[in-house]
């Protein structure tokens, strides 16, 4: 007998569908990045040739190419980390074929899509406050979360990926980890309250995914457009010859504009997708402790606070909500075990401080 779905189940199903759609878009994104990457390399070579950069200056050259290289590196790292998790989990990749990206072996296309989605750290990236490691962690957490959501043989690998991802990973897994046990021990009135909170969280997540999908679409469109544009620019630049001083003024202007275009298009590979960015990081937490001049807690608790901050970002809670939520978190043995903090150290202040830190941002 089909039971009528509760509001929470409906919201969760919606969020899950949207996350699957996001995954498809990420893969699509990965599919177009490679071609752009090729064009970018080619036009860079043309510029190098015009500039007549000798082999001995290769070091400086690679510095200029740094951003693109970082992207390449990021793709490789994601592939490598994923493989490692796969090996550790005893080859979960084969078991869950077709159940989502994270379970099927991670192809280079997906790795590229994921790398772009979660961004590559580069100096002066205003949109991102992530360090390089954080971006990788977010990417791994996403993949791990996908594996967990897909269930089956992929779950062990998902757990390992999440463990690799650190506190950000708990956020992705948060709903799964918390959701599994949180409603079990609670009183009916508490349960209703928790259901409302988690429905709201699911709705927030849905909106994050929707934001990501919208942005991914825009990104994909731009990447395809600019790949074509770069191809034309390459053809045009080839006509100019290799001697800058022989060119007409218009050609010189065009060439300079192409440099700017190349750099702008490169950002399409490295700027992160807004909707999937972690909303609360260690940096935000540090800011809070600096501002409040309070004693910093242990690293484990800080990590927990980051996870909570992401879980509760833009979620309104009244005082009873806070108490009930904290009680539920404290009584979730699986979660406590996963974060490695003793139950007696889990004081309500942790939640209160996290909320205060969220309000500060």
């Amino acid at each position: 007998m089909a039971k009528k779905k509760s509001a929470l189940e409906t919201a969760q199903t919606k969020a899950k569908k949207l996350s699957e759609q996001t995954n498809k878009k990420i893969e699509e994104l990965g599919g177009v990045t490679n071609e752009l990457h090729k064009q970018l390399t080619e036009i860079q070579n043309i510029f190098d040739e015009i500039r007549g950069i000798p082999a001995k200056d290769k070091i400086q050259l690679s510095k200029l190419k740094k951003v693109r290289l970082e992207w390449e590196h990021q793709v490789e790292k994601i592939e490598a980390d994923y493989k490692e998790a796969e090996v550790k989990a005893g080859g979960f990749g084969a078991a869950g074929a077709g159940a989502g990206i994270a379970v099927a072996a991670l192809g280079p296309t997906v790795a590229m899509g994921v790398a772009t989605t979660f961004g590559v750290a580069s100096t002066g990236t205003a949109i991102s406050t992530l360090s390089g490691a954080a971006a990788t962690n977010a990417a791994l957490a996403w993949l791990g979360g996908g594996a967990l959501a897909a269930g089956g043989g992929g779950m062990a690998g998902g757990q390992i990926l999440l463990a690799l991802a650190g506190p950000v990973g708990w956020v992705i897994a948060g709903a799964t980890l918390l959701g599994s046990g949180i409603f079990f021990f609670s009183a009916l009135s508490d349960k209703k309250r928790l259901e409302k909170i988690f429905t709201n969280i699911s709705n927030r997540d849905s909106n994050s995914f929707k934001l990501a999908i919208v942005e991914l679409e825009e990104r994909i469109t731009r990447i395809s457009n600019e790949t074509k544009l770069l191809a034309k620019a390459i053809a045009e630049a080839k006509i100019f010859g290799t001697n800058y001083d022989d060119m007409t003024e218009q050609q010189q202007y065009e060439l300079i504009s192409f440099v700017n275009l190349m750099n702008s298009s490169t950002q399409l590979l490295v700027n992160p997708i807004l909707g999937l960015q972690p909303k609360f990081t260690n940096v935000d937490l540090d800011n809070y402790f600096d501002a409040s001049k309070a004693q910093k807690p242990s690293e484990e608790i800080q990590n927990l606070m980051v996870a909570l901050g992401n879980l509760l970002y833009r979620i309104k809670l009244d005082d009873t909500d806070k108490k009930v939520l904290w009680k539920a978190i404290r009584s979730n043995k699986k979660f406590i075990k996963a974060i490695g903090i003793k139950k007696k150290d889990l004081e309500l202040d942790i939640l209160q401080d996290t909320i205060a830190a969220l309000e500060l941002n």
Binding site: A126, N225, K228, L229, E236, Q252, I256, S264, R314
Partner: protein, 473 residues
Amino acid sequence: MESAVFLELEDTGNGFNFKSSIEAEINNAQIELDELNETIDSIRIIRPECDKVDYALAISSGAICRIIDIFLVGKPGESPLGNITDKWFENRTKDFAKLWGWSGGKEGSTSSAIRFLEEKFKIPYDQRGASDAGQYIFGLNPTNHHFKSLAHNPSLLGLFFSILDQFTNQSHFVTEGELISLQRADDGFELQGTNVTSKLFSAFVNWFGHIISDISGSSGSKGRGMGIPSPLWTWTNDVIAIKRKLNIEPSDFDKSVNDLALKMFNQGYDIRFQSTQAIPVIINELVVRLFYSVRRLVKYFSQSDRNHRSFGEMWKKCEPFSNATVKRMLTVAHGTFCLVDVGDATVRGFVAGGGTFNALEFFMRVNVVGIGRFTISLYGEVKREIQNTRNSQRLFENVREREVVKYYLEGLKLLSNEYDDQELVLLISDFSNSDVYREMLSASVELANKRHVPQEKIISSKESGDAYFRGTK
């Protein structure tokens, strides 16, 4: 506008696809936000806006009315207001008799009017327990038969038994915990009417007319006479009658309450006295509503601009009926009234009992109408409070939902700004056009800025471009 043209371009000559889904999503999210805002605005939390003066006035009114109650209502027999009410009821009885053709005129005696009505509205259940069929019923006598005879009770059950008795020529009494029916009660009685409907109608009219005839006592009674019992106490008969019909033994409590009600009736606690009790309660009610209106009226005139006054607006500000503030004031006023009332009645109960509690004295003194009115107020307060709690929850949930939608909308607006670059890309892609190459450079710089290209990597002028390609010297 030119930019608008660029945004709408779906397929340019270059084969570019610039269709944007951001704007559409912004519209959707905005609609969702508007709907939530509308819901939030529609949720009303109704709180009384009484100030200290309002409360003070309400308490004073309650206390003053209770003083009226103590000195002017008191208990049956020693009640100045009661005498006025008795007279009023007598006059109404005469009016009613005149309506049916009584020719007593203004000077005609009440007993003549009552006798006229008794003749007019003949019923079979008027046994008094002395020298008639009722004498066989234990405990029935002329002073209590209005209470014991169910058909004399001004209640729904009383009406039912009256009609039943008239159709079947019976007479029902509740006495000492028993329901007793007298068969062939009055051989001379015949219910008028040709069919069931008309008989039902005339039975109803008889019941009502007979009650009016008895309301100021019987034709033969001396002094105040025994009126009709108060409906607030005849329910004690109903309990016993219903239980007996259902073959349930009435409990001792039922019997003792019934006994108490009977004793009260015997001391003159009838529908006339009950009405007297209502007087201070009504005064309390009117005074509070008046206080409320007058205060608001003064406020309205002192605060509103002379040229912009309107009756509609004034009424809205001053009407003392449909707002939580006046309702709260009434609760306080009636509450004060009851508090003093119950306190006074309790003390008198103990005094009359000589140290032990005398329930009869207590219930004779306590103002049941006031307690009833206070109960209604209290019920309203509780209902509003429950509604408010429920609405507060709804409000919170909607505000919570709105936050999530706001988050989405803010994100979309950020994206809309980040991805607002079609015009720039188009300008750059137009590189074969010899007229715009300078603009092309500035467009490329702007694009690089929009995409967050590190500043040191952006070539913002021809000179830096030259330097970039010629190599630093």
